[in-house]
Amino acid sequence: MKPNESLRLVNIKKAYHSGGIEVPVLYGVDLQVFEGEFVTIMGASGSGKTTLLNIIGCLDRPSSGAYFFQNRQVEKLNDDELSDLRRRGIGFVFQSFNLLPRLTAGSNVELPLVYQEIPGPRRKEIAASVLEQVGLKGKAHRLPGELSGGEQQRVAIARALAAQPKMLLADEPTGNLDSKTGKEVMEIFNNLHKSGLTIVMVTHSQQMTAFSDRTILIRDGRIVEDQSP
């Protein structure tokens, strides 16, 4: 039986306007990702991979083409509907962690749940359970500044998981970590993948591709390679 489709990009083009000049970044990207897949998108800086991630993450709309996420046509959604899609469908993990420095680890994890209007006590329960899942049991009251880089990234992963997303979107998740903690983080990704979560990860490092079952190479705004090991 063929697995369900998670997302599909059809001839996605994206151009930015800079000082009256149109700067094309994506020249027509076609991509299909199935549920449960772990896809790595590789590319040098300036290749358009961040732009592609913005579009996949519903943070930005394509200039043309069609994008289906969970069988909904994303480019036709309004801003609030995009927010709703991110809130329930996508968990983000960033290179620079992007935790709010004034909130405790627990409150950071609760953040997506606040916007889902889940009541406080229930949020705390969920936060405690996902923090435990990433190995940070009992550290909910710490501020990000009191945690190591690896721990901060694990808080960020917990935050991404809190809303039980359909897909995890990671942008260079180990880029700010040393190789040992990076490996620990990738181990968490691996476990999530095994439990059935769809993961799309962007990286420029060849080593990271070892964890995923499919690697896509993007160059100059086009997909130039798509291979399963």
Binding site: L59, S83, R86, L99, L111, Q116, G120
Partner: protein, 391 residues
């Protein structure tokens, strides 16, 4: 959700305590001005109304005045015989009472202090609603025999005899010793001399103690103030042959003049308040715009995890409202303290009601909404893709 918004806003303001404090200063001053304007203005108005009620608006104060065209010319004056003439020729005037004011000095703490010595007839007490706290008033008998007696105002009594009971003591006035026969109750009389800091003595005695006998102020009470005024004018015209050398004021008129100065005081505070609120509001807007610029990444993160533009807008809007509310409460407190201080020196109690606090809160809230809207819209329209930019 609401609690989260409140907490987020509060945390953000707490994180920049100094900045928060400085940025609400304009609002604090503005709201304080309005509070003072309201509480002191209202209290002063109530006091004048009260004074009018106590004295009655039917008393006229007639005083002679200098000739504007010939400033060196001596002022006209009256004597006791004139008073009898007024009673005889002005049928509408029921009572006439002179106020014969001079100065005396006493030596205290290394310097001379002066106080008013007012020569009066017994009718003065009933017309001005003067009562004694202790002792008794000056009587016709005292007047007839030029007895060396005096009444002291409450404040003067304490000044002259700080350590003992003034009643029964001797007070030196212009070289003569006068016995204190009574201490007057404090009065709220607004019109003329401050009798709380004066000595009242029989007018007959006063005209002997002081080198002059000239009476320059009289009080008259009539059935109808308009008719009394006309009759008194006629008398003065007959007596001196000129107008413009005396003025007749009703207590009502004097109080109206005071009302006018209250109004001016209120306008000044209103202007200060409005300008402060305007400038303060611009300050709030500015600090909110700075806050938005500083927090583009935070906004991006919140948007990425699912916040809508509306969520972001509400968050910043509430922060602005909270900022203004802090200013409003600070201003109301400052206004309250300032009003009490001002009132203490003017001897009336300030009006400070819940209505005023409610008004301060409303003004602050409206200001918070007005000044927060543009920064909040700017915050909501920040590009969320910033989260994928690495710095």
């Amino acid at each position: 959700m609401t609690r989260d918004i409140v907490e987020t806003a509060w945390q953000s303001l707490r994180a920049h305590r100094l900045r928060t404090g400085l940025s609400v200063l304009g609002i604090v001053i503005g709201i304080a001005s309005f509070s003072i304007m309201y509480s002191v203005g209202e209290a002063a108005r109530q006091k004048t109304i009260q004074a009018l009620k106590e004295l009655g608006g039917d008393i006229l104060r007639v005083s002679t005045k200098a000739d504007k065209d010939r400033p060196n010319r001596e002022e006209i004056s009256l004597n006791l015989k004139d008073l009898a003439t007024i009673q005889a020729t002005c049928p509408n005037v029921l009572d006439v009472s002179p106020e014969f004011t001079n100065n005396a000095e006493f030596f205290r703490a290394g310097k001379f202090q002066s106080f008013n010595v007012i020569g009066v007839l017994p009718i003065y007490f009933s017309m001005n609603k003067i009562q004694v706290a202790r002792g008794h008033l000056i009587s016709d008998h005292d007047l007839q025999y030029y007895l060396p007696v005096c009444l002291l105002g409450e404040e003067l009594a304490v000044e002259l005899f700080p350590e003992k009971e003034a009643l029964g003591q001797m007070v030196p006035i212009n070289g003569y010793l006068l016995k204190v026969v009574g201490i007057m109750k404090k009065t709220e009389r607004l019109a003329a001399e401050d009798i709380n800091r004066a000595a009242l003595i029989p007018i007959t005695l006063a005209q002997r103690l002081f080198p002059t006998k000239k009476i320059r102020t009289i009080y008259a009470r009539g059935k109808d103030t308009n008719i009394s005024t006309a009759e008194l004018s006629q008398f003065f015209y007959r007596r001196f042959g000129e107008e413009q050398r005396f003025e007749i004021q009703s207590q009502k008129l004097i109080l109206e003049t005071q009302q006018k100065s209250i109004k001016i005081f209120e306008y000044v505070l209103w202007t200060i308040g409005s300008i402060s609120l305007l400038v303060g509001g611009i300050g709030i807007m500015n600090i909110m715009l700075v806050s938005v610029t500083e927090r583009v990444r935070e906004i991006g993160i919140r948007r990425a995890v699912g916040a809508t533009k509306w969520d972001i807008k509400i968050q910043f809007m509430f922060e602005s409202i909270l900022l203004c509310l802090l200013g409003g409460l600070g201003g109301a407190t400052l206004g309250f303290l300032a009003s009490r201080l001002i009132s203490r020196s003017f001897q009336f109690s300030p009006v400070f009601s819940g209505k005023l606090l409610l008004l301060a809160i409303s003004i602050a809230t409206v200001l918070g909404i007005v000044c927060g809207t543009y920064p909040a819209v700017r915050a909501a329209n920040q590009d969320p893709t910033i989260v994928l930019r690495y710095e």
